[in-house]
Amino acid sequence: MSSPLRGVIVSHAAVAQALTTAVANITGVTDALVPVSNDGCDRDALFASLAAAVGQTPAVLFIDLPGGSCLTGAATYAHGRPDLAVVTGVNLAMLLDFVFHRDLSPAAAAERAAAAGSKAIRVPAS
């Protein structure tokens, strides 16, 4: 059996760390997500951080914004690699779904996470 997917959250400042902590607090799952911050990073430095975070495990890279240095760096790093997939607009809801569905392919997990994250964006009745 192949190893379960890893999730790597790539964000500005400490957003990735905060999301990782929140998921662990809510689910008790502590081995699914790895945070990466772009603080002080040019692209080469971000590549090095991503390589360390991904390791040899298939992964989904969760990016905070649909544009910007986190996305351009991560998408370039993942370009042409079927063991990696990229999702932008990371939110807590998609991560909570992801940690319990890590037996998919990276591409399928990315699609599932994007759908889960989108469904969570609502305006409750006041």
Binding site: G40, C41, R43, A45, P66, G67, T72, A75
Partner: protein, 157 residues
């Protein structure tokens, strides 16, 4: 209007440029000057994802940008020109086009560079290039976002 900001930032188009400066200056277009990105439609699409639809993104090689600066400067919209390194932006100042100010927005750590500010790492060669630009009357400051202080060149080289 004209080009309101000539920026050196090795992240090229990202949040600080689009949201920080873009909102403050109410820009209508952003010119990304980078030979490698100019040659890669795939990378251009990545950068385009971060730019709102009401802002035009133009990708130019260094040579194309040098030739088109007068055209962009005459554009009725407000524009930003961003290049990833000192040498590229310096090349845009060498064809007689008037550049009055250069904003150093983010140059990160690499071998051969040392920290000058939290977000500015320069090799001695790059520092000298900036110094030469200043000697030509160009105001060079470091400022990552509009709300930060513009640090004069003399304070960081």
């Amino acid at each position: 209007m004209s080009i309101a900001l000539y920026r050196i930032d090795d992240r090229l188009i990202h949040g600080q440029v689009v949201v920080g400066w873009g909102q403050r200056l109410q820009v209508g277009f952003i010119v990304l000057v980078d030979d490698a990105v100019r040659a890669s439609p795939w990378e251009q699409e990545l950068y385009r994802m971060g730019v709102p639809p009401d802002i035009e993104m133009i990708v130019a090689s260094t040579a194309e940008a040098a030739a088109r600066l007068p055209e962009w400067d005459a554009d009725p919209r407000v524009g930003i020109v961003v290049a990833g390194d000192v040498g590229t932006l310096a090349a845009l100042t060498g064809n007689g086009h008037q550049v009055k100010r250069i904003n150093v927005g983010g140059i990160h750590q690499r071998p051969g560079r040392r920290e000058r500010l939290r977000f500015v790492f320069l090799s001695d060669t790059e520092a000298e290039q900036l110094h030469q630009l200043a000697l030509r009357g160009i105001e060079v400051t470091a400022q990552d976002v509009p709300t930060a202080r513009a640090v004069p060149l003399a304070e960081f080289i």
